[in-house]
Each structure stands twice: as structure tokens, then as C-alpha cells.
């Protein structure tokens, strides 16, 4: 069985999520990868070096920039004549394109798998991770997205795959990229950080969020996350949201500050190795999952903690 894995990249670096998808695909058999966009030759060469990869397809075409699904999905669906499975990381791009590929192939996608049980059987989270379903697919080809936190990352080096050019229909003429507002930060990326400091509604406003949460994160070399309530209220941008419908994280240490612990938030962080919670309400549900809890006012506790580290 041979899988085609979608390479998530920003024309330069291959994103960690790709490496977890390669590991998941390797459990199914041989692994080829697909790199798409203009000027992606170097990325394809790098992707061919990922441990376990035997071939990298390079689709060098500006129509594939910005991963417009109208252009990328037909490319993948065409290539799938030669593959048994399409495997994408469950990133915003992966979630955008994989179902479009699945429908073009008349396949029911298996979303955000947690494990590969056999060639046709997988586990996946449902109901905000409160029910883990084991599902068996009867489709001839599989279309799968992979939850990054559930699989080890394949090594970036060690493979010796060949690079081959691939091409598709190009621009479908249905959509165009207008622009992006990408958050810039010196801090580690949320989904690959070892330590995350997350703030909730209790921070009250953007100024507090920055002056209370960020110094602690900087002391710890941590990434910064947030609850939906903090994002909705505009304290931080949308890409900080951790949860069922935000980012899924599993760092070594997750520090939840002024976050109540709604099931939708827990869904995104309860696989963290150690959870630390700071909340003034001793009955807050977050304490039911926290390894270490401290009850009290965050506006007193957090600056003191930052000072003492």
C-alpha cells in the first residue's frame, strides 16, 4: 500500500505537522509526499529526505500557491490514481483540502485520526474528544487527516527519496487569494511548543493579557494560547485559540490561567503531559484535570510567579 502525504510548508520550512502525518502514513506502508506551489524545488528536495519517504512529487505551479482548494484538490485527485491513501495533517490547510479530495474520489474521509489499527481501521475523537470511535473504512482508497499530537514526528533527515515533477490542471478560475494577516511572534509555535501559557476571559482585556501572560511565557520560553472567550473578546487573535474547534496541543507543560475548563477547551489540551491551573474558583472544572492547581487571584499570583522564576 502506498500513501501520498500532503506537505505543509511556507516555501522554505516544512511544518512539523507534516512529520506526524508521515509517521501515520508509514504505518500503512510506503510513503510518497506531495509539495505544491511555485518555486518549491528546494522544499521537495528537503521533503525527500524525511525518514521513511521514498519519493517526493514536486508540483511547481503558481496556481497552487496559497493552497487554494479549487486548484489543489483536482491535482491530488488526479495523482490518486497511483495511490491507496491520501494523508494530510489536520491543519487549517489539510482540513480545507482533504474533504474536497475525498468527495472528488467518492470516499468518506476519516478525520483527525489518533491511531492506525490496521490498513482500514483507525481511531478518531468525536464529541470534543469525549468519545473515541474506532472506525473501519470500506472505501477502496482512504482519505485521512492526522492529529499531530497523536503521532511522533518523523525525522527530517534519513530518507533518500527521489524527486519527481507532477502537474495538474492548474488554475480552475474559481477563486483567488486576496491577502493575509499572519500573526508574527518570536515565541514558539503553539502546536509544537514544549510549554504553553494560556489565558482566559479572566484577563479582562488585551492590555492585561499582554502584561500578565506574556512576561510569564517569556520567562519560560513558552508559547501563548487562549480560550475561546479570550479570543472572542479580542484580547488575542484567533490563532491563539486552543480547543475542540481551535488548536490541539499536547505540550510537556500547559499552564491555564483564568480559564474555567469547559469541555471545548479541555478537548484541545487534555493530552498535555502536565497541566497547571491558576483560578480563583476552587470548583472550576479545570482543576479536575490539573496535575497542579493554585487557587487564587491571577492578578496577584502570576506577576509574583514571573518574578520568582
Amino acid at each position: 500500500m502506498t500513501s501520498l502525504v500532503w506537505v505543509e510548508h511556507d516555501t522554505g520550512a516544512i511544518k512539523d505537522a507534516t512529520l506526524s502525518a508521515v509517521t501515520a502514513a508509514a504505518a500503512l506502508g510506503e510513503v510518497h509526499v506531495l509539495v505544491a506551489g511555485s518555486g518549491v524545488g528546494d522544499v521537495a528536495a528537503a521533503a525527500a529526505q524525511i525518514a521513511g519517504v521514498t519519493k517526493a512529487l514536486s508540483a511547481d505551479d503558481a496556481a497552487f500557491d496559497h493552497v487554494l482548494p479549487e486548484n489543489v484538490a483536482p491535482l491530488i485527485a488526479g495523482l490518486m490514481a497511483n495511490y491507496d491513501a491520501f494523508v494530510a495533517p489536520a491543519t487549517a490547510n489539510g482540513k480545507n483540502i482533504a474533504p474536497r479530495v475525498a468527495a472528488l474520489l467518492d470516499v468518506m474521509q476519516i478525520s483527525e485520526i489518533l491511531s492506525v489499527e490496521s490498513a482500514d481501521t483507525f481511531t478518531r475523537p468525536t464529541y470534543a474528544g469525549n468519545a473515541i470511535a474506532t472506525v473501519q473504512s470500506s472505501d477502496a482508497k482512504k482519505v485521512i487527516t492526522v492529529r499531530g499530537t497523536a503521532f511522533e514526528k518523523a525525522a527530517r533527515e534519513g530518507g533518500s527519496g527521489t524527486v519527481e515533477a507532477a502537474s495538474g490542471a492548474g488554475d480552475a478560475g474559481l477563486s483567488s487569494f486576496v491577502g493575509a494577516e499572519i500573526s508574527k511572534s518570536e515565541r514558539p509555535e503553539l502546536t509544537s511548543a514544549k510549554i504553553i501559557v494560556s489565558g482566559g476571559r479572566a484577563l479582562q482585556n488585551s492590555e492585561n493579557f499582554h502584561s500578565v501572560i506574556e512576561p510569564l511565557a517569556d520567562k519560560l520560553g513558552a508559547a501563548v494560547g487562549a480560550s475561546r472567550a479570550a479570543v472572542d473578546a479580542g484580547y488575542v487573535p484567533n490563532d491563539y485559540q486552543v480547543g475542540q474547534t481551535g488548536k490541539i496541543v499536547a505540550p510537556e507543560v500547559y499552564i491555564a490561567i483564568g480559564i474555567s475548563g469547559a469541555i471545548q477547551h479541555l478537548a484541545g489540551m487534555k493530552d498535555s503531559k502536565t497541566i497547571i491551573a491558576i483560578n480563583k474558583d476552587e470548583d472550576a472544572p479545570i482543576f479536575q484535570v490539573a496535575d497542579i492547581g493554585l487557587v487564587g487571584d491571577l492578578f496577584k499570583i502570576v506577576p509574583e510567579l514571573t518574578g520568582k522564576l
Partner: protein, 249 residues
């Protein structure tokens, strides 16, 4: 233009789901059910487009049990004009839902279909993208802003790094994210009025769609449980713990 809004009846987001003892699924007996929250946002967006004079008619669709009528009545009470219930007493997968919606799109010819990005029960995040593929239309997923401009629509999308804007030729498919809007509550008079709005009943067979599942659920189990740990008394104790863990020097 006409707007089609698919709405799913799901477990209420405030309820903690419980896995059935026999491992066949989640126990939904006597559990509060509601409209999928992302679909409320979709209905709200459609209503706002109608209030702006861009949309002319809003059609809500649900595929599911007879009880999904309640969900459609909620959509009608919020402001949808009419509804279609495609009755299936067994669960229809996103691919099957997308195929039924494709037929409805062919019949109704909406300028926009606005779906939720994700149903909070199956957490699939597939249906809108699949519908876009089947109808050959562009897709603007995870939308936090939707601006209709002539025969195109600008969709701002919530992506991993922040926000991205794409321009799509209409007709187009949009899926909602949390920041698109804040859905309204239906007023009592509107709830009364919704009772007399048209609600058509169909079956998957009426559309010639085979909804046989492709995925078999072998079993459903609870995730590994985390147990509560310890509480520390003060910051000094917390600092000591962090040092012991090697997190702080």
C-alpha cells in the same frame, strides 16, 4: 440571491457526552439536543445578508430524524423563510449529506450555501468542502467575514497563522467559524410565526442518493481519564514544583 443553510441537530454544547456502557456510541436518551452552534452562526449570517438586501430567500435544510423538525423550526424562528427536512432515521455521513445537498443545490440554485465548519458531535469538518467538490464550486471555509460584491464573495478565513482572505466566484460555498457573528435569539412572536412557515419533507431516495455508510463504527470508548492532581498553597510551592520538573532553573 437565495441562500441555503444546512443545519444539524446535535447534542447541546453544554452537555457532557457520556459513552454507552456497551461501547456502541454516545448515550443520547433524555439528553438536550440543539442546533449545531456553527449552524446558528450560518443562519444568522444568512439573515444579515437578507437584512442588507443581498439575500432574497433563506432555505434551511436538515438531514436526520423527524425530531430535526425542531431544529428547522428554530432556523425559521430566527428568520429563515422555509425549510426542507430529509428524513433518515439512521445517521447519514458527511459524504451522504453532501450528496443530498448537491441535489438540493441543483433544484434550488442558491447563490450561497452557508454551512457550519464542524458538527460538534462527529467533529468531521468535511461536509461543506465535500459539497463544494461535488457541485464544482469554490469554498470559503472557517469564515470570520463574508462580503458579497457583485458576482463574487470575499471570505476572510481563520487559518493556523491568523487570517486569510480569498475571493470566490459565486455561486459559492461558505463554512462558518466562531467569530463570524453572534447569533440572535428567536423572539416569542417569531417562534409563533415560524410554526406556519413551510417545511417540506423528503427522503434520500427522493433525491436518488445512496446514503449507505462507508465507515463502520467498530466501537466507541471513553478517552483515557485524567485524575485531579494536587493543589499547592502558594506561589513558592508552585515555583518549587516547576523547578523539580526542570521547567524553571
Amino acid at each position: 440571491m437565495k441562500i441555503l443553510v444546512p443545519v444539524k441537530r446535535v447534542i447541546d454544547y453544554n452537555v457532557k457526552p457520556r459513552v454507552k456502557m456497551d461501547g456502541t456510541g454516545v448515550d443520547l436518551t433524555n439528553v438536550k439536543m440543539s442546533m449545531n452552534p456553527f449552524d446558528e452562526i450560518a443562519v444568522e449570517e444568512a439573515i444579515r445578508l437578507k437584512e442588507k438586501g443581498i439575500a432574497t430567500e433563506i432555505v434551511a435544510v436538515s438531514i436526520g430524524e423527524q425530531k430535526a423538525q425542531e431544529t428547522l423550526r428554530t432556523a425559521l424562528a430566527m428568520g429563515a423563510d422555509r425549510a426542507i427536512l430529509v428524513v433518515s432515521e439512521t445517521e447519514v455521513e458527511p459524504l451522504g449529506v453532501a450528496k443530498i445537498l448537491q441535489k438540493i443545490v441543483e433544484e434550488e440554485a442558491p447563490g450561497l450555501v452557508i454551512l457550519g465548519k464542524q458538527a460538534i458531535d462527529d467533529d468531521s469538518n468535511q461536509t461543506g468542502q465535500m459539497l463544494a467538490a461535488l457541485t464544482g464550486r469554490p469554498q470559503g471555509t472557517f469564515a470570520s467575514a463574508v462580503v458579497v460584491e457583485g458576482d463574487s464573495v470575499k471570505v476572510t478565513r481563520e487559518v493556523d497563522g491568523g487570517l486569510e482572505t480569498v475571493s470566490l466566484k459565486t455561486p459559492a460555498i461558505v463554512t462558518t467559524d466562531l467569530r463570524l457573528n453572534e447569533p440572535r435569539y428567536a423572539s416569542l412572536p417569531n417562534i409563533m410565526k415560524a410554526k406556519s412557515k413551510p417545511l417540506a419533507q423528503k427522503t434520500p431516495a427522493d433525491y436518488g442518493v445512496d446514503v449507505t455508510p462507508r465507515l463502520k463504527t467498530v466501537k466507541v470508548s471513553e478517552p483515557p481519564k485524567r485524575s485531579a492532581g494536587i493543589k499547592v498553597a502558594d506561589v513558592d510551592e508552585l515555583v518549587a514544583k516547576l523547578k523539580a520538573m526542570g521547567v524553571a532553573a
